[in-house]
Amino acid sequence: MDDLLQEFIAETREMLAAISGEIVAWEADPSDRARLDSIFRFVHTVKGSCGFLDLPRLERLSHSAEDALAEVRAGTRSPDGALVSAVLAIVDRIGELAEAIESGEALPEDEDRRLIAAVAQGTVPEAAPVPVAVQTTSATRGVARTIRLPIDLLDRMMGGVSDMVLARNELSRKLREAGYHGAVEAAFERLSASVAEMRDAITRTRMQRIDNIFSMLPRLVRDLSAELDKLVMLDIDGGDVELDREMIEMIRDPLTHALRNAIDHGIEPADQRRAAGKSAAGRIAVSARQAGNQILIEIVDDGRGIDADRVVAKAIAAGIVSRDRAEAMGWAQKLALIFEPGLSTAESVTAISGRGVGMDVVRANIEKIGGVVDVDSRPGQGLRMTFRVPLTLTIIPALTVSAAGQQFAIPRPAIEEIVRVAGESVRVEPLGGGHVASVRGERIPAIDLGGLLGRGGTAQFAILVVLRPAGGDRFALGVDTVHDHEELVVKPAAPAVMATGIYAGTTLPDNGRPMRLLDPGGIAAHAGIEGIGRRRETHADAAASAATPSVPTLLFRDLDGVERAIRLAVVERIEDVPVDTARFTAGRLRLAHDDRIIPLLARTDRFDGPRLRILRMNDGHGSIAYAIDEVIDIVEIGVADVSIAASGPIAGVVLIDGRQVELLDPFSLFAEAADGAPRAGSDQPLCLFASADNGWARQILAPMVEAAGYRVVFPDAGEAARADVVLAMNGDLADCTLPVVRLRERPEPAGESDPTIYRYDRDGLLRALRSSTLREHRR
């Protein structure tokens, strides 16, 4: 909130400086409408900001001035000298208060009341004694933690840094050619790192997440809805869209204004909403998204909407349009009349959104940055207001791809997935001169990017990038290669380039060769596939829901050369490890990895090459590794075509592209690896040795039991009472409430019902321990 207040003060100061000339001119000629309008806009903007920032005094002042000026604009009051003086006194007072807020000083409030009364009656306020505090404010200035810079300067900085990046790249090439050595390399690396960091910082100075304004909306909505006694739910989406800081500043006011209008005039009181069959709480959705070379900011409410015919009636009454012209207007044109100065659709004047006067200000602000405001509304159903703001400069996360030997960038938000054309699950078929891709049974239109860009020959589909343009239908774009995910600084291209409709802008990557950012929506339109996808999709959805669910499955070549598959979900990661970390120790292969020893499964006992590729799997308790030769693909397959009931590492056989592929059974893999695997610390069962003085138990038995995964304690230990099982020699420990496993010294049992276990019967002993601890856990 502090920052917002700072900004408000800085803004007010700037606006005051800017309109000081207007004020003087207006004083000289009070009938000058243009001057009147600009002063009006000033007090109106101040009022708007105050309402949000909770500055009631400033709000009252600006509201009173706005009231008086509105009457002048409406022609019900003449701008005489007394009124002009009263308004000017208020404008001055606004400046004083703003300074006082910044320096944290108090100004007497009765002065405000006197000024408000004066402007209401149109009397000349007595020369107000200038408070001493005001004169000292200039001295106390300097608390500001932000500075304002001309955009030009930032642009120059950015240009300079980009040049540095290019120079660094050239230097890097030259150094490579010259064969540089360690010391130079280290120095160069340091230079590179600081250049990169600098570029990032400079770019960020101009860019800001739109979240910065979106984040203040919930509070605004809350306050306004409380004040107006309305229920409003606010949805915000797309806050991570980054915009030029300049743009953010410029859309702040229009956005808050539109929201204010939506709550004040759009959303009906709860009882009216219920009567109209709507939910009691009104809904307002604010969203931002990038579409082509524009940022779209939408404010959608489900309130009463605007009746275009009433707008027209008012416009005719106000003399804005003639009756003849109005009759020739379409619905949209009629609605657009709300942006005309001096037209209000509100029945009553409120402190929240005034008289509908804001709409012309909204449009003026958006148009100032080269944007467009659209409004669409149906009476009773709500209103959608769209700001289309040009994308002057944005940082867009993008995927770089190649087609027809050229590199392009695709905005990442539009990308749904990237699939490789292979086998049955992902196919591309010609269809009536075009192509249709079948991705896991779903049909979507396919476009060959190379072909679209004029590469001759037959269409090639190696990799499909499945795109869903903003507000459009899905389609697959065939590209030759996918390179990388990058954050790109995108600038609009020249009009001649934008005219093609398929580019959203240009960007200059580090190699210094301009790259074009594709506009997915434009490509769809260019290829003429708009609207086809939707029908296909519904059809495909129905088909997909009927089919068996398929699961992503990793297809790989095993070390014995056989193709096998495993469900992707159990694979934690795929890693390359040095081959000497794998050792055949204590009867099985183990891998020393990440300071731990994990069981390694491999279908061979000889490893070639210096590195070993492993699949790391995790069952939630421990990891195992499975050595493979190479990963082939990730495919979506359903249930195995042949299921193997017998236990073993193979769960079944699936058919992939006509080949039989064994599907590994993760259960049996873990079971295979699990025996003897030491479990972690405290969840090991506690085994109490009854006789602490038995040297054989301590030296010989205990290590074996510990190796089997138990923690051995002796009666002198504090946790002896919490033991899961007690191990005792026959004869020791007559009565015990804990489960006891008794050992005998002789191999032969003493009788048929002898429950003791021969002390070197390792398997029998472990079995008995296990069943005792299990019983214990079950209890």
Partner: protein
């Protein structure tokens, strides 16, 4: 009323570009093509940190297309805050020409008439004055 002009050669003809439009003259090695763009846009190139849109002056005059190999000479102009490079065959000099621009009193061939502002007299030679923004607009837009 002296005016500065940059004398260049386009399609074998010496023409004058008003110097007020001209930012600099650069030599380019690579032009990245832009598929589907109007014929007279040769592609994009980078001028330091900025992206240049390269205009093929030959194509803009509907006189064929420039070969885009070897070192290209481009005159850099800024039109409506976008940076363009106009491909020219040769750059002669910046000259100061006294006297105004006279209207062309002869029928001009090809698209020359569309992009010219008039004629100036330089050392006894009549030079066509080319308006860079008109050259950039290209032939298509006029037909539309």
């Amino acid at each position: 009323m002296n005016q500065l002009y940059l004398l260049v050669e386009i399609a074998g003809q010496r023409v004058a570009l008003p110097a007020e439009h001209v930012e600099s003259v650069v030599e380019l090695e690579t032009v990245t093509p832009v598929p589907l763009v109007a014929r007279h846009i040769a592609g994009l190139a980078a001028l330091r940190s900025r992206v240049l849109t390269i205009v093929d002056s030959l194509a803009a005059l509907e006189l064929g297309r420039s070969a885009l190999d070897g070192v290209l000479t481009a005159v850099i102009v800024t039109v409506e805050s976008h940076l363009y490079g106009l491909l020219v065959e040769k750059v002669e000099d910046v000259v100061e020409i006294a006297g105004g621009v006279d209207p062309v009193r002869a029928p001009l061939g090809s698209a020359w008439g569309r992009v010219s502002q008039g004629i100036v007299d330089h050392d006894g030679d009549a030079l066509l004055v080319i308006d860079p923004p008109l050259l950039i607009v290209g032939p298509g837009a006029i037909a539309a």
